[in-house]
Amino acid sequence: MKPVQLFCWHFMAYPYLARDFDEKEYTGWVTVPNSLWDNNKARGLYQEYIDQLAYADELGFDGMVLNEHHQNIYGLMPSPNIIASALTQRSLHGKIVILGNLLPLHMNPMRVAEEYAMLDQMSNGRLIAGFAPGGGPETFNYDVPSANTREKFWEAADLIVRSWTEDGPFAHEGRYFPLRYVNLWPKPLQQPFPPVWIPGSRSPSTMAEVAKRGYCYFLSSRSHGGETHRAQQEFAAVLEKHGDKYHPFRFGILMSTYVGETDQQAREECEEGVWYFLKNCLKGHLRRQGRQLTYGPGVPYIPAAAWREYLKDYKPGRKLLGDVENWEELDASQSIIVGSPETVTRRIQNLIEKAKVGNLLIQFQLGNMPDHLARKSMKLFAEKVAPALRHDSLKQFTTEYPGVNVESSAEALH
């Protein structure tokens, strides 16, 4: 058994928007005018963000997390592999988690297989390979037809893993990506292949596909009420159905935190960055204001029968994370946990206890949060929160999952 794994996730937001951005601009995604990009300010921004991730490695985080987004102010990583490449040279211990490459956006999945194999070699076997289908905004960014996104995604994911595990050359007789000569050079270092993580938002079909293949399921929701616990139970039930067994490292969640010396100081220090993140970065994604592009009838990637089920409980105009109006409401959403080391420890412990989750992917830098505050929060977390979380989770997991081989996942199945 191992303790909870603590990862530092960086989204790399564009932090230089004017104060009246929300008032003046309709969205932060897809069509947000790129005339707002300011080279005078942005020079050195990637360096600052890469340095923060390298600092996470120094502080002893279990890994660094990157993901792919296009044409938005929320995440400036159209190619997370480029940042990952830099991290292979700037970090020594932590896993490099890419969550993930958006497979339907790539014309040829072999490019992903190759780049991931290179990153695994360059990092001495530290890659965690995430595959994601992309959401609504990416549909519009790259003109990806929605209806067959899921089929395309799984064909690409399976082809990549096959190219890592099966000797080439072989022909892939696929529906979407037929290839005559699949013959990967280089191969990934980790054997039989790097861990594979797949994000989902509680769709039963995604859980089933993940379970079938023995991968790790990552819940992409940003809020953590009862839903997180339910997602864990649902996934555990799906694993059971596939003759497999749940353990905490088959599951991961995304959360944000800010740690300050006291509750009061924490809130004061992070509030500007938090509101920048909620009101600007989530506009077009997790806000009602303007047009939400992430999910809906215009990006019809789930079958009509699943849409009918979704609609039954759907309440039009319901509040999304970015619609919270005050600090108390935000606090209740359990999305961004802010406070002293004691407060943050208690609240995250509570979350782990209930959701039995072994992979915490934590966002520290929020919106336009200045470098020194992001670093201070990371350091306080690493020194004053992480030890207790590791200690208590190890105890909990050992009791709750006796005799479970936590390395059992796809790697062991092969």
Partner: protein, 271 residues
């Protein structure tokens, strides 16, 4: 309403039939039977007073099976060739609106001999430089969590007219209407999302193959498929007169001005 399921090469196709007389195949668009409403609209009732109107639901719409092999418009054209065979329709009038008009044009360039007369209403399908067809997918994502005003504005002359609000209400409408709207968007995303949007570049240079007389109808205020597309259809199909513009109507001419539109169609078919 009289509907039935037919078997087309192992797939289920749902269709409505109404009226007697010469067969008229109607292919639906967005604001239409099968893609919002389960039953006929007043426009179709008027046509059915003079013809046997047959309206199949597109693949994945209504009770018609979804077909995952559909990637491009040609796949839909071949689907309809099989529907025609199953219905034993050798000679018929063909009326298509919006995406249905695009499918009609694709059928007509392939099998001009089977079509007696062709009517295109606000048809997508053409690439016209500098006149992109609207992004109905983005407009289908609600604003402020529940407003479909910009979708209505794209599909009708104005966002707040009664028929637009009835077919595309804010918030959550009738569950089955919602599902039908979704099904139509899902089919459209297969054929109309890439290239952006709703066109087949070679179609324009194939239109000269159409041998039947043709009528092209457009709403005066079409905010989805620009007028120049109507003019291009009218100019490129040999047996076409002038583009018929219906004053005051938007893209969904047959919903917004059912009587005028039906009269234009019936007069043309009777000529």
């Amino acid at each position: 309403m009289s509907g039935r399921v037919i078997d087309v090469n192992g797939r289920k196709v749902w269709l409505l039939e109404h009226g007697t007389g010469a067969p008229l195949l109607y292919l639906h668009g967005f604001a239409d039977v099968h893609s919002v409403k389960e039953n006929w609209l007043p426009f179709h009732d008027k046509l059915a007073q003079h013809a046997r109107v047959i309206a199949p639901a597109h693949p994945g719409c209504g009770q018609t099976d979804e077909n995952k092999d559909i990637d491009v418009i040609e796949d839909v054209a071949f689907h309809y060739l099989e529907v025609l065979d199953a219905l034993q329709l050798t000679q018929f009038d063909l009326v298509g609106s919006c995406v249905g008009g695009w499918i009609a044009a694709e059928l007509a360039v392939r099998h001009p001999e089977r079509i007696r007369k062709l009517v295109l209403i606000g048809a997508s399908g053409l690439f016209v430089e500098g006149a992109l067809i609207g992004d109905v997918f983005m407009m289908a994502q609600p604003e402020y969590g529940q407003s479909y005003a910009s979708l209505r504005q794209m599909l009708f002359a104005s966002a707040d007219q009664a028929n637009a609000l009835e077919m595309f209400p804010d918030g959550k409408g009738d569950l089955e209407d919602e599902v039908r709207r979704y099904q139509m968007l899902r089919l459209s995303s297969r054929i109309g999302f890439k290239p952006p949007y709703f066109y087949n570049r070679p179609l324009r240079n194939r239109l000269h193959r159409i041998t039947s007389p043709a009528l092209v109808i457009w709403g005066e205020k079409d905010n989805f498929v620009p007028h120049s597309h109507g003019e291009t259809y009218a100019r490129s199909i040999p047996g076409t007169g002038e583009l018929k513009v219906v004053p005051g109507a938007g893209h969904s001419v047959h919903v917004e001005k059912p009587e005028e539109t039906a009269k234009l169609v019936l007069d043309f078919l009777a000529k």
